[in-house]
């Protein structure tokens, strides 16, 4: 249980630490240290197991479908990294306590640091590749937030985004790689994967896997050509640079290579990809570090270079090289973290990091200077310091590579060259900063030694450098052995850890490097001049420009595609249908089915001809809008006649009523619109639209034809058979509407109700200026309500109500029903509005349309819900024949209450919609204010 605890603790701490923000910076720093301390305590008992070559495992299934489990693993390698993470993390917390300015949000900083720590521990201790990936991406994310901690600095923001883009992108590649591995192995558990190394390497997908995994590792570990993000990440506060970007996070890539070493390494692809990348990074980093005037820039590129070195070591593929690589991880972490901290102190005390201004600090801060000099010496590979040891091993390994012919010279030469650079920039760090005359124009002058406790972390790390350098076998020997053994899968070669191997070729190379470095440093000005001839590439600017270009291009492309043209979207929709339906229809072959065609009678033929003419004329004459409306009425009328002609009286009646209401509605709208549509489309476009329309119409014709001429049987026999005995009505259509498929009707009247409510709401605050006269320039007449019309309209209302009742009551048995009755009532009321005006009519209508809609829906629901009481399903209808004295026998059906609901909803909705539009008119009493919302 202790393993997940170790990982979880920092996260818990991240949540808990801010709670101590009230107690001051020290309190929160202490609180933030607690998780690491507990974690160290928890790890300590495990040491004996590991030293014996054992492994501590924890396994808890989480998402079996994914192959994701909460598996943790503690072996030498993970212990090594975990110790680095925990110990350096502790030092960083202490350091940060003094580094951050009082007004900065230290709680957030510590919380993020702790999150990072947890994520990093997660990476190194995960025993499930997917779990590791989760932590992996989490480190990218937290790193993004930490780099951008100083949000006011543009460079910090940009650096953060660049780091996220590169490492996050690499993470995605890694994800793909891991998934393929899982696919090959059948498990993401590390044990299974490591055991299946041969299987992976033999698999056809191996090159892909390798490339993807290495992409992840290289981006994280800032390998060429992905190195550029790291120096820009130095915009972060220095503790972050020291912790994330030198000691831990950038090592995650290295860790990954170490972790998957048994599974992936040992092939030619591995060798070439890893070692050449490492080599390129090593040289490039070293060269660039030399050129940087920024203290942290120098350290950043030096880190790049050292990461390249470690990568190169892993790439070499020999076991000894792997040991050297692991060893160098430790050494680099110690000296580089201390150097960063020192740089942070200098930055903190002088207010700048420009080495051209910081000079001669020895006089002001000798203590810090001493520490920095020791650490820098270790970086340069000076004997008796830990850097020297691993570098010697590196030199030795570079000689051992079995490359053919002259190629064999390449690794040692490159190694030596890198050594020269490394010495040169180390010397530069020491000499430029602490000696080399006097400070130039420092923002803070004179600099002082930092607070006592701020130096403690540096001191501890420097002490470690020395200890390891002098007593390697005692100090790190066991740990290194455990780690190397875990990396190599138990098969550790013989190696000898001591500060002096005697005089041999590697030592010679060290000498060459040392004196070459001094020489190079002395000639640095030439070197700068040489470099100044080349144009400096600011990766950040390049990255920003690239993002800007991509964004811009995306924006342009989006704007082109999503151009806000309804015509385009509608055309795409119609075309999609045409394209997708074309193939099956083409297969249809003959469109006339088995039943063949029946003859046409003349009146029907003529009516259809009129319909066709009217429809085409509507399209042709659409510019004259009122004319188009008249033609539309003709179409609607003939459609209604068609329903009657083909045995659908209910439909005919519905269509007729709806059509008139629609026309009135359109005219209400047309009042405010231009009465004429201008010509806007080019003739080519009209032709194109015509073509699309013709294809669509032709398609519909063919489909209809094919359908109508085919025999057919449907579920409707049931309706015909049961309508009377079970539904209690002879009008089957009506019984379907209020009973068999009453739920559809409920939905339908809900739609109507919502539409009306929506219309009402939408027009409430709308102001429209009507034109003063019609399209031909006639002013509107003042005679609003002609006398004859008024006189005739009034008696119509009771008559229409009576007819509505009649149509309503017979609906269940004969054509009619609530819907048609509702429309008749509505139309009669509309006539009152037309004849006598809005105010006059509204004064006389005893109810609000809103309530009517609500009441209608309520009736429908109640009619349906009645059956629930008898534990029948919703909308179960019942009917009975009731005999009353004198009145006689009559039928009462619950469906009638439902139909009453339909009736009321239709009236309320229709009138609410129309009246809302009518109310826009400036003549009506309530004049809406301009957009008062």
């Amino acid at each position: 249980m202790s393993l997940p605890l170790v990982v979880m603790l920092p996260f818990l701490g991240a949540i808990a630490a801010p709670l101590f923000a009230q107690g001051g910076r020290t309190a929160i720093a202490i609180a933030s240290s607690v998780p690491a301390l507990i974690a160290l305590a928890a790890l300590y008992p495990q040491w004996q197991v590991l030293a014996d070559g054992g492994v501590v495992l924890f396994h808890q299934p989480w998402l079996p479908a994914l192959g994701l489990s909460l598996s943790f693993r503690l072996d030498g390698l993970s212990l090594l990294f975990a110790l680095l993470i925990l110990i350096i993390g502790l030092l960083i917390i202490l350091y940060s306590r003094y580094y951050l300015k009082p007004k900065e949000n230290i709680a957030k900083f510590y919380a993020l640091l702790l999150c990072f720590k947890g994520a990093m521990l997660g990476i190194v201790m995960s025993s499930n590749l997917l779990l590791m990936l989760i932590f992996w991406e989490l480190t990218s994310l937290v790193s993004f937030l930490l780099i951008g901690f100083w949000t006011h600095k543009q460079d910090a923001r940009r650096g953060a985004r660049m780091a996220l883009a590169v490492t996050g992108g690499g993470g995605l590649a890694l994800l793909a790689g891991i998934l393929i591995i899982g696919n090959i192995v059948g498990s993401f558990e590390l044990d299974d994967v490591l055991a299946a190394g041969d299987q992976i390497k033999a698999h056809a997908m191996y090159p892909v896997v390798l490339t993807l995994v290495l992409l992840g590792a290289f981006t994280k570990s800032a390998q060429f050509p992905f190195h550029f993000w790291l120096p820009h990440a130095m915009q972060a506060p220095t503790p972050v640079s020291a912790y994330l970007h030198s000691a831990t996070m950038v090592k995650a890539g290295i860790f990954l290579m170490a972790r998957l070493y048994p599974a992936l390494a040992g092939t030619e692809q591995w060798f070439y990809m890893v070692s050449f990348t490492g080599m390129a990074t090593l040289l490039l980093g070293a060269y660039t570090a030399m050129l940087k005037h920024d203290l942290k820039g120098l350290l950043a590129y030096s880190t790049v270079s050292h990461l390249g070195l470690i990568t190169l070591l892993f790439g070499m593929g020999t076991k000894l090289a792997a040991v050297a690589a692991v060893f160098h991880v430790i050494n680099h972490a110690t000296f580089k973290a201390s150097l960063f901290m020192a740089a942070g102190i200098i930055d903190h005390e002088t207010g700048t990091r420009d080495m051209r201004r910081i000079n001669g600090l020895w006089r002001y801060m000798p203590h810090t200077a001493t520490l920095a000099m020791v650490a820098a010496s270790s970086m340069a590979g000076v004997p008796l310091l830990n850097g020297f040891l691993s570098k010697e091993m590196f030199f030795a390994e570079s000689l051992d590579l079995n490359l053919p012919g002259l190629w064999a010279w390449l690794p040692p030469i490159i190694a030596t060259l890198a050594g020269i650079f490394s010495v040169a920039y180390s010397v530069r760090f020491v000499h430029d900063v602490f000696f080399n005359g006097k400070p130039v124009d420092l923002p803070v002058f004179p600099p002082h030694e930092p607070p006592r406790y701020m130096k403690i972390p540096v001191e501890i790390l420097v002490f470690a450098c020395v200890m390891v350098g002098i007593f390697p076998a005692i100090s790190v020997g066991p740990l290194l052995f455990a780690a190397a053994s875990a990396t190599l899968g138990g098969d550790v070669p013989d190696y000898h850890l001591t500060f002096a191997h005697g005089l041999n070729l590697p030592l010679l190379m060290s000498f060459v490097a040392f004196f070459g470095g001094l020489l190079m440093y002395s000639q640095r000005q030439r070197f700068f001049d040489f470099h100044a001839r080349f144009k400096e590439i600011d990766e950040k600017a390049v990255f920003e420009a690239a993002v800007a270009r991509v964004t811009e291009a995306a924006n342009r492309l989006t704007a082109r595609l999503e151009n806000g043209s309804l015509q385009r979207y509608a055309m795409l929709l119609v075309l999609s249908v045409i394209v997708i339906a074309a193939a099956p229809l083409a297969n249809l072959g003959l469109f006339i089915g088995a039943n063949g065609l029946t003859p046409v009678d003349a009146p029907t033929g003529i009516a259809v001809a009129v319909l066709i003419i009217a429809a085409i004329m509507t399209a042709v004459m659409h510019r004259e809008r009122f004319y188009a409306l008249v033609l539309l009425s003709v179409v609607g009328l003939i459609v209604a006649l068609g329903f009657a002609r083909f045995s659908a009286p209910d439909l005919a009646m519905t269509q007729l009523s709806v059509e008139v209401v629609t026309i009135v509605l359109l005219m209400l709208a047309l009042y405010y619109m231009p009465s004429w549509t201008p010509i806007e489309s080019s003739s080519g476009r009209r032709l194109r639209d015509l073509l699309i329309a013709l294809v669509a119409g032709g398609g519909m014709t063919l489909i209809t034809l094919a359908m109508l001429t085919r025999p057919f049987s449907s579920i409707s026999d049931f309706f015909l058979a049961n309508s009377k005995p079970e539904g209690g009505g002879t009008n089957v259509v009506n019984v379907i509407l209020v009973d068999f498929r009453g739920f559809d009707t409920l939905g339908e009247i809900t739609v109507l109700a919502i539409a009306a409510l929506g219309i009402y709401a939408m027009l409430k605050n709308t102001a429209l200026t009507p034109p003063p006269g019609d399209g031909q320039g006639h002013p509107w007449t003042r005679d609003t309500h002609p006398m004859m019309l008024r006189q005739i309209a009034r008696p119509m209302l009771p008559l229409a109500l009576m007819v509505s009742v009649y149509i309503f009551l017979r609906g269940h048995n004969l054509p009619g029903g609530g819907f048609i009755a509702g429309l008749v009532t509505s139309v009669a009321l509309i006539l009152q509005y037309v004849a006598s005006g809005m105010d006059w009519t509204e004064d006389r209508i005893p109810f609000k349309y809103h309530n009517m809609i609500g009441l209608g829906l309520l009736f429908a629901v109640i009619a349906g819900a009645g059956s629930l009481a008898f534990s029948y399903p919703f909308l179960t209808s019942t009917f009975g024949h009731i005999h009353w004295p004198f009145v006689g026998e009559f039928e009462l059906a619950s469906a009638m209450i439902f139909d009453l609901g339909v009736y009321l909803t239709v009236i309320g909705a229709t009138l609410l919609a129309l009246v809302s539009i009518g109310r826009l008119s400036p003549h009506s009493a309530i004049k809406p204010g301009p957009e008062a919302n």
Binding site: D783, P786, M787, M788, R790, Q791, I792, R794, P795, L797, P798, L799, L801, M802, V805, Y806, Q832, S836, D843, R844, I845, P846, W884, F886, V887, G888, E889, F890
Partner: protein, 162 residues
């Protein structure tokens, strides 16, 4: 509450009741009850729409008038049909007809009658309800039109309404 039980427009109620009996297939107990309910309820709902009572005083003369008009329609329809089918160009005219009637309903009935009887259409009623504008399809003279309307229809309506 009791006043709500009255029939505010007894004529209307009666007509509605009768129409309902026609609409229901055959008079029965049910249709009578429902007819009564409707004859009460509908006027209650719509009485607001009738601001003034109709001033039809001698309503029993109405059927005679209607028969008279109907006969005129049939007879004159043939004349118009002949006119439409003939090649002769009709002599159209706009005639202003000075009204003697004052009641709006009466004027409406007259205007309707004029429109329904062939050869003339009421085009407009003046704002002051003092004159009608009539379009005659084929008229020798204005006087003839005015004269015929006055004698055939307006007199009778005057008797009925005022």
């Amino acid at each position: 509450m009791l006043d709500r039980l009255t029939f505010p427009q007894p004529w209307l109620s009666l007509s509605l009741f009768l129409i309902w009996q026609f609409l229901s297939e055959g008079v029965s107990g049910g249709s009578v009850v429902l007819g009564l309910v409707l004859a009460w309820a509908i006027p209650q709902l719509t009485q607001g729409f009738w601001p003034e009572r109709p001033s039809l005083l001698k309503w029993w003369r109405m059927p005679g008038y209607l028969v008279h008009v109907l006969r005129d329609i049939v007879v004159a329809s043939f004349e118009v049909a002949a006119l439409i089918l003939s090649a002769r160009r009709p002599r159209s005219a706009f005639v202003v007809y000075p009204l003697e009637l004052t009641d709006p309903l009466a004027i409406t009935v007259l205007a309707g009658t004029i429109s329904l009887t062939p050869g003339t259409v009421t085009v407009d009623v003046s704002d002051d309800h003092k004159s009608l504008l009539i379009h005659a399809l084929d008229a020798e003279s204005d006087e003839e039109v005015i004269h015929s309307i006055r004698n055939r229809y307006e007199r009778r309506l005057l008797e009925m309404f005022e």
